[in-house]
């Protein structure tokens, strides 16, 4: 691989945002047909570097060359013309358009004055076949699962003849199955000469699939290594600049009285299909109950029903003895719930509010954040400064809009807010999605501390490792039902995997 030629090179790239030097004299290159992974802690400047290559931002200093020639990339139009495609951390699809319409958007094929959908659909089918990217050109994008939406994004880049594809944290929202599919697709692409830049926080993935790995920290490139000469611990060390403990140190802890009690609830989703059937379980104070399961088996609707975002159709939910079935989020919150929602940008944050405002999003209306209906900016400010330093949120100041933070730091704003409130129960849905190893270590530590203080924790996570590391008991969810609840110490990854895939539980 090392003798293949360099298709893209960035030299001395510097980018300053207000209060943040996001890229500091960065050098980076990509060879033909390789998968070059980009690692780095939250806010290290990975997305920024990619946005610069793609023309969404322009560098203050530095030079980019593509195919050996110096390139001027002022907008995505330029980068697309140079054969660069990007799949963003946020997808950029229009939900009410079909796959074909989304793919041709901005590059429409016109025949006799109207859109030539047939030709486009034919090309999409051709691309799908060629790279094993199974998509239906005539499907509406909105209802498609994220894994498929992501394929649409990839098809979109290939449709524009991209030879260089940038994938910004593509696996964070995928199920392990979907991630495996993506890796297969990535290998197919590189075998056909496409070069890929791949951003992720999952060290295992990097070691498994990358040809080279570049690590960034605080806007700088720390090093470029090859997988066979490194390991998770060393990568983590390079990213964070210190030793990271990748296992959770969890002391045995006597569970206390029941805090959350769920009795036979069923929930319907917005299409009015019942996605949670007759689910019952309890979580005690000082205990972590993990809910394992492949995404899309009812976890989202279950957590919405428990937190008041959706009403269950039948059943009963009690918190600390109070019947809270179908009550509003405010009432449930006041009964002692902290909730880390699954979709951080949809529920968890108001992106155009400051970090300080977001850190009081659920508590703005009472003391100390307000008094007699008037917001107290000083209290908001103090609270946010405390949380920013405790949770190591990388932001130039508490007044910056949350939308300006890097993805992982946005997540940290929510986690900090929810774990710092005075709660009896925490429902954490994908709490560490998109976080770097250092932050995961810290947040796992915080969850374990809360458990130690007698808080009940319901952890919903697509990461089996996370479930195994934190849980005292593990419930497996499959097709809307809890198919097993077991003691975490008495089960194995393999066993859980089988249940998650729908294997029947043996009467033990």
């Amino acid at each position: 691989m090392s003798e293949s030629k360099i298709v893209l090179e960035a030299k001395g790239i510097t980018k300053q945002f207000p209060g943040v030097l996001a890229n500091d004299n960065v050098n980076f290159d990509l060879r033909k047909g390789e998968i070059h992974a980009l690692l780095g802690e939250n806010g290290a400047g990975k997305s920024t570097l990619m946005n610069l290559l793609y023309g969404l931002h322009n560098p203050d200093k530095g030079e980019i060359s593509v195919g050996g020639k110096t390139a001027t990339i002022l907008s995505p139009k330029d980068s697309i013309a140079l054969g660069i495609g990007m799949v963003h951390q946020h997808f950029m699809l229009i939900p009410v358009f079909t796959v074909a319409e989304n793919v041709m958007l901005g590059d429409e094929t016109v025949k006799n004055g109207s859109l030539d959908r047939a030709t486009v659909a034919a090309r999409i089918t051709e691309i799908s076949k060629q790279y094993g990217l199974d998509v239906d050109p005539n499907a509406l994008v909105g209802p498609l699962p994220v894994g498929i939406q992501q394929r649409v994004e990839i098809v979109k880049t290939l449709y524009r003849n991209a030879e260089i594809v940038i994938l910004d944290e593509p696996t964070a929202v995928l199920t392990p199955q979907e991630a495996d599919d993506l890796f297969r697709i990535m290998r197919d692409l590189t075998a056909r000469g496409v070069s890929i830049i791949f951003i992720t926080h999952k060290l295992k993935e990097v070691l498994a699939i990358a040809d080279r790995i570049t690590v960034m920290r605080a806007g700088r490139v720390i090093n470029t290594v090859i997988p066979s000469e490194t390991d998770s611990a060393q990568l983590a060390n390079m990213m964070v600049g210190r030793q990271v403990i990748l296992t959770v140190d969890k002391k045995d802890h006597e569970a206390e009285e029941e805090i959350l009690k769920v009795e036979g609830i069923s929930v319907r989703d917005q299409r009015d299909l019942e996605t949670v059937h007759n689910v019952s379980f309890t979580v005690r104070g000082g205990e972590v109950l993990g809910i394992a399961g492949v995404q899309g088996n009812g976890q989202t609707e279950l957590s919405e029903a428990l937190t008041g975002l959706r009403s269950p159709t039948t059943g009963k939910v009690t918190i600390d003895g109070k019947d809270l079935t179908g009550k509003s989020p405010r009432i449930i919150t006041e009964a002692g719930l902290g909730h880390i929602p699954e979709d951080r940008q949809r529920h968890g944050l108001v992106l155009s509010y400051s970090v300080a405002d977001n850190m009081a999003l659920c508590d703005y209306y009472h003391a100390p954040f307000s008094s007699r209906g008037v917001i107290q900016p000083k209290a908001l400010d103090e609270n946010s400064r405390r949380l920013i330093s405790a949770f190591d949120v990388r932001t130039p100041s508490p007044f910056v809009n949350a939308g300006k933070l890097s993805g992982g730091n946005q997540q940290k704003v929510i986690v900090a807010r929810e774990l710092s409130r005075n709660v009896k129960l925490v429902i954490a849905n994908q709490p560490t999605r998109g976080l770097d190893v250092g932050s995961i270590e810290y947040i796992h530590g915080e969850i374990i501390k809360m458990r130690g203080r007698g808080v009940a924790v319901l952890l919903i996570s697509a990461e089996l490792d996370e479930i195994m590391a934190l849980s005292d008991r593990i419930a497996v969810m499959y097709r809307g039902q809890i198919v097993a609840i077991v003691d975490a110490k008495k089960t194995t990854r393999e066993q859980l995997g089988l249940w998650m895939a729908g294997a029947q539980v043996q009467a033990a």
């Binding site: 207000p18 209060g19 943040v20 996001a22 500091d24 806010g43 997305s47 969404l56 963003h88 951390q89 946020h90 997808f91 950029m92 699809l93 939900p95 994008v141 909105g142 994220v146 939406q149 944290e169 964070a172 929202v173 806007g219 975002l309 989020p329 405010r330 919150t333 006041e334 909730h339 929602p341 951080r344 940008q345 949809r346 529920h347 968890g348 944050l349 108001v350 992106l351 155009s352 509010y353 405002d357 999003l361 659920c362 703005y364 209306y365 307000s370 209906g373 008037v374 917001i375 990388r394 130039p396 100041s397 007044f399 910056v400 939308g403 993805g407 992982g408 946005q410 999605r433 998109g434």
Partner: protein
Amino acid sequence: MQSEKQSNSPIKKLLQSISDASLVPFLAILTAVVIGGIIIKLVGGDPFLAYKGLLQGAFGSKKALSETAVWATPYIFAGLAVALAFKGGLFNIGAEGQLAVGAVFSALIGYALPEWLGFDLPVYIHLPLAIFVGMLTGGIWAGIVGALKAYTGGHEVINTIMMNYIALNTTSFLLNGIMKDRSPTNVIARTPLIAESARMPEIFDGLRIHWGFVLALLVAFFIWWLLNKTTLGFEIRTVGLNPDAAQYAGINVKRTIILTMMLSGALAGLAGSIEVTGLNYRHELGFSIGYGYDAIAIALLGKSHPLGIVLAAFLFAAMRNGATRMQFLTQLPVDLISMIQALILLFVAADAIVRYIYRIKSKGERVVLTRGWGG
């Protein structure tokens, strides 16, 4: 990588944000004025004379200033009404109707209440009551649309337009019927004059500027305070920016939508009340025509910021008021003024054009079409 040097003095920050926010509207106005000038030239007029007339008519004398303020008063109230709804994520096209409803009921209380009661009321009861009833009825009128939105999902744009038809036709019906001024010489659809006790005192002898103008400025400040400093304002803005996050945060989204519409309608109703109690001392069909629609333009131009709205209201008021003088000096039709106003709006609404002309880079965030996750 982190730096704490960001937070400059609050005053500097305020100035910075004002100049950031007003740059595009300012350039839009400039561009419209230039294009307007070219058009005046093309139709054979003298643009400099025309604009001189406009300025004289708007600001050239005590009387001109007073008249500009008179025009600006309902614009400020109604502009605030539309802006408040905007902040709550609602598009209130119905200020026109809410304003008419407020004016009718204020007038009714103003002329009929003493008759009903059989005795005269002191001004400190009668006047506030007349204003309050105007706000209340305007608020209810808009609140109906809010409730339809919250409970049935009916879109407020369509429903406020419908409600405008109902309001304006009902007003016409009332002013031609049971509420019509019965004095023998009257042939116009208008109410009787309101009682002295329901009128605002004059500020200056001989000038029409009234206390309603001062009230408008105070209300603008109050709305700014309400939106930015109170928990209610936080709720309104959160629902406007991200209703899902608002629900998550425990805000009652339905209630907030209704309340926002009611407050918006109350402000529009206040615009109508003040015209009645401060200026005309009655309501007449046609007195308020167009304020509610101009208000949308003013809210847009003022970027929904109360200070911006006061400024935009002044601009519109000055143009309306100065137009007569301009016409007198140049014999150009007043419609030119409407055209320049329309151009300003066009450039504000399609700010991409202005940004393109003046090569301003958009500071806005990039458009995210489907909300994925992360950042």
